[in-house]
Symmetry: C2
Subunit: 105 residues, 2 copies
């Protein structure tokens, strides 16, 4: 007899926990400035981009950019590496896998 446990994960409706996790990722992308930030970081590839080069093109104050980068970092979408006084941001690979799977199907 078929029980809930026999239903493959992908066929089961979203439970509250997974929905919460996914919603956090989408929330990180739910702001124009953060979307453009992520886009710029992603374009920079493995090398990444210095956050000092992100303030001007986005026309926001330095604290605002810093705040948005923190949101992206805490959502697991980007990571930073110190190089002297600079911070280089790059995308976390596979960070968008769940989001991708959800939006795809």
């Amino acid at each position: 007899m078929a029980t809930a446990k026999t239903i493959p994960l992908s066929k089961r409706p979203l439970n509250d926990a997974s929905a919460g996790d996914l919603a956090n990722v989408f929330a990180a992308l739910a702001d124009p400035v953060r979307l453009r930030l992520f886009d710029l970081v992603r374009r920079a590839g493995e090398t990444g981009v210095c956050s000092c080069d992100l303030v001007e093109p986005l026309e926001r104050s330095q604290p605002t950019i810093s705040h948005h980068l923190k949101v992206l970092r805490e959502a697991g979408l980007v990571e930073s590496r110190r190089e002297g006084t600079w911070l280089w941001y790059s995308v976390v690979s596979d960070a968008l896998d769940d989001a991708n799977a959800f939006v795809q199907s």
Copy 2:
């Protein structure tokens, strides 16, 4: 000589307008209840699902569900069709195309 106009759209950094549109879509998905709502509606296929069947599984009040469905509708992700006193919700096909393209690359 290469000018900005010769760069294909997909290779250009996100401008503010497209970022705003995309952010609106992600904002609609940035809530656990709405994610699960969208998931349930999508699972219902072309037929769609009566919104009366969405209140109980999500454990929210009827006005709250109604509010979230409105958000999804205004984001262009779902549409509704009247059937007597009921409203049947179904997904708008291709509504996630832009989001998919962004998350994919």
